[in-house]
Amino acid sequence: MSHSHSNLHARQRRAQFRALWAWPIAMGVLSIFGLLAALLYDGLGDVLSWITLGVPVLVMCWFGWMRRR
């Protein structure tokens, strides 16, 4: 791998990392939050877990089947 430490390349790499991983990381963080919320807190915790675990399910439905270009 050829590494360039110029600012430009560092910025490009960061931008590329974000483009690739921003969505997966967001989905993962929401999932972890949802898995723990209901375990730690009744009531509000349950509701938060439904929302935060519901988002990845909706994201799959939207990108996978509902969106048509």
Binding site: L20, P24, M27, S31, A38, L39, G45, W50, G64
Partner: protein, 382 residues
């Protein structure tokens, strides 16, 4: 220009741009090998686990529909409860030749108890009797070792093969975790030139399913990893239990070692009341009777649970002298016991009401699609 038009129709990762690539091509080949084989070996069993797990998420609801759930008669919600000694007597009278092994309230319905008996304290051919907590009368009790849900349960837990079956499925779970991790690593080279969520429908069926595999795989990643890892931990339950028996339990009952077995039995209700006084923020989850694997020949082991969503999954045993109904010892479970008990709800998805069960089912179905599409992609590539 949409990214899909810039890529060849092959499913291979785009040629890496030297300055920006995350993995060398030989690393990609190695990870592909890991992903292929960990998936291929485990896929058939993972599909079985996902399919049998689906009805298990709703086992109460299905049992209700099939009429195999116990339905205590309607009474005022604050109807007084009878003494546990009466509950115990009802169970003992129904099966006079058998010995009581466990008494426990139903986990979801505090209007009745189960009294579980066997020919000996350690007999694993058990019978259970449901007993109404308000009247002390026996309730019609369906058999637990037959029917649709039981078959799904055994296929899911041990393939009807006991401990070896469990450990085998645990190993398949480990392979799933390897497949997930290697899948994430491979996500980068496959998706570098594509926007998140791209599904190239206009391309070949294989390309479309590759995109769906990547999309569903990466979105379900954390959930699948947690459910897979906690499932694997659950397959070690018997071993964890044996460890606890020989470790903490052995220490707690050491003072009674070598004493003759108990003859008279003290009050069960008194034993539970004493445990409740010792641990006022906890409730009884079950009582193990003298001579069972969960107790000693001289003790009632009263297993107490906490009263928050998390601590209600944890247990603390209180050892009560079975003759005098006096407490002799009580210690919180060691870390490995706690780890096992915390991993259970995270596997079952039964801790956040019906909406969480439905989400669990949808994520399970998404995982089935990931497994199926992975298999399809492999078949097509050969």
């Amino acid at each position: 220009m949409p990214p899909s038009t810039t890529l060849p129709d092959t499913a291979a990762p785009a040629k890496p741009h030297a300055a920006h690539r995350f993995l060398s091509s030989s690393a990609i080949r190695s990870w592909t090998w890991v992903h292929k084989w960990s998936s291929l070996v485990s896929t058939a069993f993972m599909l079985l686990l996902c399919l049998t797990g689906l009805p298990l998420i709703f086992h109460h609801e299905i049992g209700h529909l099939l009429g195999t759930e116990i339905e205590p008669p309607a009474m005022a919600a604050d109807a007084p409860r009878v003494s546990l000694d009466k509950v115990l007597k009802t169970g003992q009278d129904r099966y006079p030749g058998k010995v009581v092994q466990f008494v426990s309230p139903d986990e979801d319905d505090d209007r009745f108890y189960y009294v579980t008996l066997g020919d000996t304290p350690t007999d694993d051919k058990r019978v259970s009797l449901a007993v109404d907590a308000r009247t002390g009368e026996a309730l019609p009790t369906p058999k637990f070792d037959e029917g649709f849900i039981y078959i799904m349960f055994r296929l899911h837990v041990d393939l009807f093969a006991g401990l070896p079956g469990k450990l085998f499925l645990g190993f398949m779970g480990l392979l799933l975790l390897v497949a997930i991790v290697s899948g994430v690593v491979l996500y980068a080279p496959f998706m570098r030139k594509l926007e998140f969520g791209t599904v190239r429908r206009e391309r070949s069926t294989r390309t479309k399913w590759l995109d769906l595999h990547n999309l569903l795989g990466v979105v379900t990643l954390v959930w699948a990893f947690v459910v897979g890892a906690t499932g694997m931990i659950n397959t070690w339950a018997d071993l964890v239990f044996k460890l606890w028996q020989n470790d903490q339990m052995a220490e707690m009952v050491a003072p009674y070692k070598g004493l003759p077995p108990t003859t008279a039995r003290g009050s069960l209700q008194e034993s539970v009341d004493a445990s409740k006084r010792l641990l006022p923020h906890m409730d009884m989850r079950f009582v193990a009777f003298p001579g069972t694997d969960f107790s000693s020949p001289h003790h009632y082991a009263v297993f107490m649970k906490g009263n928050t969503p998390l601590t209600s999954r944890l247990l603390q045993p209180v050892l009560v002298d079975a003759e005098t109904a006096k407490i002799t010892d009580s210690r919180p479970l060691p870390w490995y016991g706690t780890a096992l008990l915390v991993s259970q709800p995270l596997h079952f998805g039964d801790y956040g009401g019906t909406p969480l069960q439905i989400l669990w089912a949808l994520l399970d179905i998404a995982t089935i699609i990931v497994l199926g599409s992975g298999l399809y992609l492999w078949i097509k590539k050969r």
